[in-house]
């Protein structure tokens, strides 16, 4: 009996410890964003303090934060639509149209997952520089699309394969052309997959630093780049950075809690059938 209680206690302790380990760093920055300078530097961190929105005011006014936010939205939406649009068409061709060399082509797309970002970035930077497109949205949008494509194709292929073949043959018997079958039959059925792919693509784009850092300029900085400029300086303005970080984290975490089920399926890449 005692052993049993000890075992339950141990489990509980591990669960609580992991909870604290996960939550404390996040909670610390979120609370810091509402603190006055004198409270930010107190050790241990004060839990009860007079909240202020001064940091948010500073982050939103001084650092062009609003523009970074908008830039992130533009890059995220454009690259997600490009990736999911072109990726789902490719996935349909690879799974349903009996394309020749389908497997080889699918493999080639997947190999894209293995290319390190830096290996793509350096030549991309040089090429965009030559073509004069450096600093426009073209760089980050294309780069994010390319990074997301292999995983989008993989995910959507999995969803299309899960459709019972009868459904497609029935459409064919009814005289549907392949494209009509895709719009009217396949599309609606794999809609959850497409939504998951879109959100995960946007999430990647929203969080991505390296490409955006080098391929944008002051006018096209995305949020992570803006934050890296806050953090990069010698003495970090913790109040302002925390406010910016909180504003950047909040949408992603909120959206993810709303659609937790989709996300779990998408994050595991469709590789693992849950």
């Amino acid at each position: 009996m005692i052993l049993r209680w000890m075992r339950i206690g141990l489990r509980l302790a591990v669960l609580i410890l992991f909870f604290l380990w996960t939550v404390i760093p996040i909670a610390l920055v979120v609370t810091t964003s509402f603190k006055l300078p004198r409270d930010i530097f107190s050790v241990p961190p004060v839990i009860i303090f007079t909240p202020t929105i001064e940091n948010y005011v500073r982050a939103l006014t001084a650092g062009d934060f609003a523009r970074y936010f908008w830039n992130s939205v533009v890059v995220g939406v454009a690259s997600a639509l490009l990736a999911v649009g072109s990726g789902s068409l490719a996935a349909y061709a690879l799974v349903s149209l009996r394309m020749r060399y389908a497997r080889l082509i699918a493999d080639m797309f997947l190999l894209g997952k293995l290319v390190p970002a830096v290996t793509m970035l350096l030549p991309l930077f040089a090429l965009l520089n030559v073509t004069g497109l450096l600093g426009t949205f073209v760089g980050p949008i294309l780069a994010h699309t390319a990074v997301n494509l292999p995983f989008v194709i993989w995910l959507v292929m999995g969803f299309i394969r899960d459709i019972p073949p009868d459904l497609e043959s029935a459409a064919k018997v009814d005289g549907c052309t392949p494209m009509r079958t895709f719009w009217l039959i396949i599309g609606p059925v794999i809609l959850p997959g497409l939504v998951a792919a879109t959100i995960l693509s946007m999430q990647f784009s929203w969080n991505e630093l390296l490409f955006s850092l080098q391929l944008t300029n002051l006018d096209t900085y995305t949020l992570p780049v803006g934050i890296s400029k806050f953090v990069g300086s010698i003495s970090v303005d913790w109040g302002k950075s925390s406010a910016a970080a909180t504003l950047t984290m909040a949408p992603i975490i909120l959206v993810s809690f709303l659609i937790q089920g989709y996300l779990a399926k998408g994050t595991t890449g469709g590789a693992i059938k849950g």
Binding site: T22, P25, V43, M99, L114, L127, A143, L209, S228, T268
Partner: protein, 317 residues
């Protein structure tokens, strides 16, 4: 995998080539057309730049002064082998990958198993909370942990101070501890990914297997090593490939936490290539480092990927 995809690869194609091909031919053109948008993006952003990198890694040049570059053939690659900093960054990258990924896998499996013993609703709620780090931008993860590691008001030092160890721990400032600190932040961020994958894998293990094992008198450890882990094998291989390749090309979190310092003690290959290219403007050498990074990635994880892939194909109907 549907029967359709199966026939494509299966024997039908070879037994009745004429029939299948003539039926399939009608849609070949459409299929090619549907592939084109995705292929265009990948060619423009991956294939062309990779080719360009391969070419330019044979030159010694600066961005903006391409025509003034001199052809040095393989000198940039030979330089890598003789560059102590490059070799140390390779060692650090391997060390980082090995330590961080093994911790993440052990911790992720442990937490997934623990969550699996809880009632579904509680487990779902906790999993949602545990997965939050996965959603956060690496640059923000860096910010969070720099705040934690701050020598004057960081929480890490506060806790160490309680145990009197604060003076022994160098945090992000000392070469001896900086890489460890980066690993901790990486483990914090990506353990939830392992947790999610293992949870999905656990759902695929039939419960009666455990029942049978219990009747046969297998203990908890026996069930773990005889049933759970062997059946999670392919899931863990997927996790190992995804996490391993990600860790090997680690950039963001190091950039945010240390920028490669102090004294280059956290200089990963990606960071080194980045610095050579963008800070020291030695683009040719930077591209050589980037190409070597990719080649090593393929060499290390290629066989694993291939084994994984051929098995998953073998299982298909």
């Amino acid at each position: 995998m549907s029967a359709k995809a199966g026939t494509l690869r299966g024997s039908t194609l070879f037994k009745h080539p004429e029939r299948v091909r003539s039926r399939g031919d009608r849609h070949q053109l459409l299929a090619v057309a549907l592939i084109i948008p995705a292929a265009t993006v990948l060619v423009a952003v991956m294939i062309v730049p990779l080719g360009y990198a391969l070419l330019m890694s044979l030159f010694d040049y600066r961005v903006g002064a391409e025509s003034k570059g001199s052809f040095v053939f393989l000198a940039n690659y030979l330089r890598f082998v003789e560059d102590p900093l490059a070799l140390s960054s390779l060692g650090l990258t391997l060390l980082f990958t090995f330590c961080a990924v093994s911790c993440e896998i052990v911790l992720g499996i442990g937490m997934a198993l623990l969550l699996a013993t809880l009632p579904v609703s509680i487990a779902r709620l906790l999993r949602g909370v545990y997965c939050m780090p996965l959603l956060i931008s690496p640059i923000i993860v860096g910010l969070l942990w720099r705040y934690m590691y701050d020598p004057t008001f960081g929480l890490v030092y506060y806790f160490l101070g309680l145990t009197g160890l604060a003076n022994l721990f160098g945090g992000l400032q000392e070469p001896a501890s900086a890489l460890f600190c980066v690993m901790v932040a990486d483990i914090w961020e990506t353990t939830p990914f392992v947790l999610l994958c293992v949870t999905a894998g656990l759902a695929g293990i039939p419960a009666d297997l455990y029942e049978a094992a219990r009747i046969d008198g297998a203990g908890a450890l026996g069930r773990l090593f005889r049933i759970t882990l062997p059946l999670l094998r392919s899931v863990l291989a997927v996790v190992l490939v995804i996490r391993g390749t990600d860790a090997f090309r680690v950039f963001d979190i190091i950039y945010a936490l240390t920028g490669g310092g102090p004294a280059n003690s956290t200089l990963s290959l990606s960071i080194y290539a980045f610095k050579k290219g963008f800070e020291e403007n030695q683009m040719g050498y930077a591209m050589a480092i980037a190409i070597i990074t990719m080649a090593l990635l393929v060499l290390i994880f290629g066989p694993l990927l291939k084994a994984l892939y051929s098995r998953s194909q073998g299982n298909a109907p």
